[in-house]
Amino acid sequence: MSYSPLSRDEIAKRAAKDIPDGAYVNLGIGLPTKIAKYLPKDKEVFLHSENGLLAFGAPPEAGFEDPELINAGKEFVTMLDGGSFFHHGDSFAMMRGGHLDICVLGAFQVAANGDLANWSTGALDAIPAVGGAMDLAVGAKKVFVMTNHTTKEGEPKIVDTLTYPVTGKHCVDRVYTDLCVIDVTKDGLKVTEKVAGLSFDELQRLTGAPLIDATK
């Protein structure tokens, strides 16, 4: 049997389905940002940005960019009616204090115990940068990860134990990949969905940690 991995937009669309009405959500820079496009119009979801925005909206039309209205990815945004501005202290209190319902982060690796690596590859010549990743990992009530199932070279990104430096320990609740959806539980990694045509055995072969089939 053959199968098609989800496109980046399809992963975003799938993750968007799990964001409930009224949720306060931080979408990490990069891939997770795409989720905003797929939030259903009949839901009100409050997007938070590290640099002091709550309830920001879509990018402005060309010509209406404001250099003082950007998100954490330094992209131009707009504000929704009912949005608010606040300083960095309050912004990170929203995370660290457990007020954000969900954050969605990218990942280099996710371990079977929910450890997340997404800030450093550990390469000796790399310039380290961490931003708000560690704060989001420990702070949000639910941490979702959105990632390709394997690296470009085909190496598993879901692993038994991290080989990259850790961002946050035991923090990941759910992983959305181009092949499946995985819940991180005390019993292990439970696959709740997978793309059509992909066998569980094949998925396990592409994964560096034992999976539990919970797709039935």
């Binding site: 009224g22 306060y24 938070h48 009912g82």
Partner: protein, 228 residues
């Protein structure tokens, strides 16, 4: 559509059960959510732990709540006032437990809870009776006491204006503990004089973003005869 203003006060307050820890905003009567407190009294719940700066004035609001017998313990900085006779009598009769906290440590411990900190070293109270038995440390030549966050199941606060997402602005010195209590409680219930449509509050002027507020109850402002 998210509308945090839709439930009745009674419906909102009915979440509060025996033994709950409740922050109540206000400094004296300024910012005291008197109508929410009246609603709380009507619930007839017991064994409450109350966090407030004071321990009630006169016979209304917080004082009335104490008098109703609902409160097991109060955590505050300044219980003793000229008109705190309700508290005074309960305290002298051994019917209420008091945890006295310096006002700035009260504020700081509430902030620590809202900010998700595990504990903070604060200089206030070092060497005093109120720091007895607490861990201390000298940091850069100055002495500090380790204080733990004050969390709550509920915060009952009073603001001036809200929108349906729970964004709040306050009025003058009624702001006091409202913003930091809203950040520290699991469920924050705000009573407000006015509710405006979404967009009616300028995003630059919002003091408490709606993420910190779960329910809004409108209580039209009455010219108060309450003493400040």
């Amino acid at each position: 559509m998210i509308d945090k203003t839709q439930k009745s006060m009674q419906e909102v307050l009915s979440q509060i059960k025996d033994g709950a820890t409740i922050m109540i905003g206000g400094f004296g009567t300024a910012g005291q959510p008197a109508e929410l407190i009246d609603g709380l009294i009507d619930l007839k719940v017991k064994d409450l732990v109350i966090i407030n700066n004071n321990a009630g004035n006169g016979d209304f609001g917080l004082a009335k709540l104490l008098k109703s017998g609902a409160v097991r313990k109060i955590i505050c900085s300044f219980p003793r006032q000229s008109d705190s006779w309700v508290f005074d009598e309960l305290y002298r009769a051994g019917k209420i437990e008091l945890e006295l906290v310096p006002q700035g440590n009260l504020a700081c411990r509430i902030q620590a809870a809202g900010m998700g900190l595990g504990a903070v070293f604060t200089p206030t109270g070092f060497g005093t009776l109120l720091a007895e038995g607490k861990e201390t440390r000298n940091i850069d030549g100055k002495d500090y006491v380790l204080e733990y966050p004050l969390k709550a199941d509920f915060a009952l606060i009073k603001a001036a204006v809200a929108d349906r997402w729970g964004n709040l602005i306050y009025r003058k010195s009624a702001r006091n503990f409202g913003p930091i209590m809203a950040m520290a409680a699991e469920v924050t219930i705000a009573q407000v004089a006015d509710i405006v449509p979404l967009g009616g509050l300028d995003p630059e002027h919002i003091i408490t973003p709606g993420i910190f507020v779960q329910h809004v109850v409108q209580v039209p402002a009455i010219v108060s005869s309450a003493q400040a």
